[in-house]
């Protein structure tokens, strides 16, 4: 089975802190994604990456950055956490040969206080 693992299930951080959310996949997928999910707003794409060191902005990249130094790992960085970044963060990966079939991690529920 494909496994997408997010480093934390729950995280509490203070306003202004730099926050790292880590995601690792074990299926050698080319594509990786970061979403946030908020009640009533569904899933919104923050960033995606189609190769090592490559990244593309999604719909809501402001306040976030990403890093992909290795194929299996995709990190989401909150440069200076704010309370409006309190959310569920979901990482996903997919293969270029099975476009449309993404595998998601369990999610990280981040609370910024």
């Amino acid at each position: 089975d494909v496994k997408v693992t997010q480093s934390s299930r729950y995280l509490v951080k203070r306003t202004g802190e730099k926050v790292f959310l880590e995601c690792v996949q074990d299926m050698d997928h080319e594509n990786m994604f970061w979403y946030r999910q908020d009640p009533g707003l569904g899933l919104r794409l923050i960033y995606f990456s189609y190769d090592v060191k490559m990244k593309e902005k999604g719909d809501i990249p402001e306040g976030y950055s990403v890093s992909r130094e290795k194929k299996e790992r995709f990190s989401l960085i909150l440069e200076s956490a704010s309370t409006n970044q309190t959310s569920m963060y979901l990482c996903a990966s997919s293969s270029t040969t099975r476009t449309g079939e993404a595998f998601f991690g369990q999610g990280t529920r981040l609370t910024v206080v």
Partner: protein, 113 residues
Amino acid sequence: LAKTTQPISMDSYEGQEVNITCSHNNIATNDYITWYQQFPSQGPRFIIQGYKTKVTNEVASLFIPADRKSSTLSLPRVSLSDTAVYYCLVGDMRDNYGQNFVFGPGTRLSVLP
């Protein structure tokens, strides 16, 4: 991107067949249709994908009429554990980078005993 419209919520009883319809009037020639399922506090899970006519797997069936302007996800004999949010996505088969993983609000299915 083809916009999709689904019912916000549906109720069903255990053992019934559930059909969730998604409208995508502006679907393009190269677009395929994908359905995901999401349980509370988990990431979405791929269910089924199709381009035309009918696709069936061990979980569900997907019916797509000839004009492809809608699709119907069919869940046979639902159980309480099928209570979840179901998302319909429409995306370009040529898009290897998965830019079209755009999740709308989905359909919240509640299965009652």
